[in-house]
């Protein structure tokens, strides 16, 4: 059996699903953020696999941009979490329900 594009795509889909499951399942905002990162990584795996099996480099260059966006997103998101913690003294999502009431 040789490893083809469909194996990489299956891996990417499962990784994305795991990340999404984490976003649904976890209560800690920081861990939800890690699961978002997992979803971004899953998309990069698919891009690199497509790029490799099509013989172009465009997907690889896109991964650079995704990495940059992810780094910026993490910086801003963690700053928001710290600001939120300063206000509410919690990072658990079920206690951050001020907009609900």
């Amino acid at each position: 059996m040789t490893i083809g594009l469909d194996h990489y795509l299956l891996l990417s889909a499962v990784l994305f699903a795991l990340g999404f499951l984490g976003v649904l399942l976890r209560k800690n905002t920081l861990v939800i953020y890690m699961c978002l990162e997992l979803m971004l990584i899953a998309s990069t795996v698919a891009l690199v696999a497509f790029s490799h099996f099509n013989g172009t480099f465009d997907g690889n260059v896109f991964v650079f941009f995704i990495l940059t966006i992810a780094a910026a997103e993490v910086a801003v998101g963690l700053a928001i979490i710290v600001a939120l913690f300063r206000q509410r003294h919690t990072v658990q999502v079920e206690e951050l329900n001020q907009l609900k009431h």
């Binding site: 469909d6 990784l15 800690n28 990584i41 099996f53 690889n60 941009f65 940059t68 710290v82």
Partner: protein, 167 residues
């Protein structure tokens, strides 16, 4: 050999990701995210993108996970139980999982995927040529985005004075 390596890195990636999801302690979750990232970097090497594997480890393992650990230890995060599923969540998750599985199966059966890798491995020169010709505008835009993110973080982490009439 390639197959065995693929299986090992797949195991690392998916096992790390699963443990990120189910682990109750946030610090352990960050550590398993690191394991998962190492697996993904190995997959990148298998896909002839060694430079991307290097950048992934540098940016994610070096910066992002370190930042996560820093914030986890800065804030007081006690281990918490997982969220209980309500009935709509179960239905939506099952439906979404089913649709994803159906998409993967359809892709496997019907799509005409390119079988073999024809091209040579991209060199650093190829990346540079693409980044500075075809993708010059996106590079500039991403640079501005980083600037905006930096300013946003500075504004967010500033301590604002409370309003006068606050209790």
């Amino acid at each position: 050999m390639g197959n065995l390596l693929f299986l090992i890195f797949t195991f690392l990636t998916l096992g790390g990701a699963a443990l990120v999801v189910v682990n109750k302690n946030a610090v352990n979750a960050a550590m398993f995210l690191l394991v998962s990232l190492v697996g993904v970097a190995g997959l990148f090497v298998l896909l002839d993108a060694a430079l991307l594997a290097f950048v992934l480890l540098l940016v994610y393992a070096g910066a992002v996970v370190a930042l996560f650990l820093f914030i986890i230890m800065l804030l007081d995060t006690r281990p918490a139980a997982l969220k209980a599923f309500t009935r709509p969540t179960i239905v939506a998750a099952a439906l979404g999982g089913l649709l994803l599985a159906a998409g993967v199966v359809m892709l496997h059966r019907h799509a005409e995927l390119p079988a073999a890798a024809p091209a040579a491995t991209p060199s650093l020169r190829d990346y540079a040529a693409m980044l500075f010709t075809t993708y010059l505008l996106p590079v500039q835009v991403v640079g501005f985005l980083l600037l905006a993110a930096m300013l946003g973080v500075i504004v967010l982490s500033k301590k604002f004075a409370p309003p006068e009439d606050a209790p």
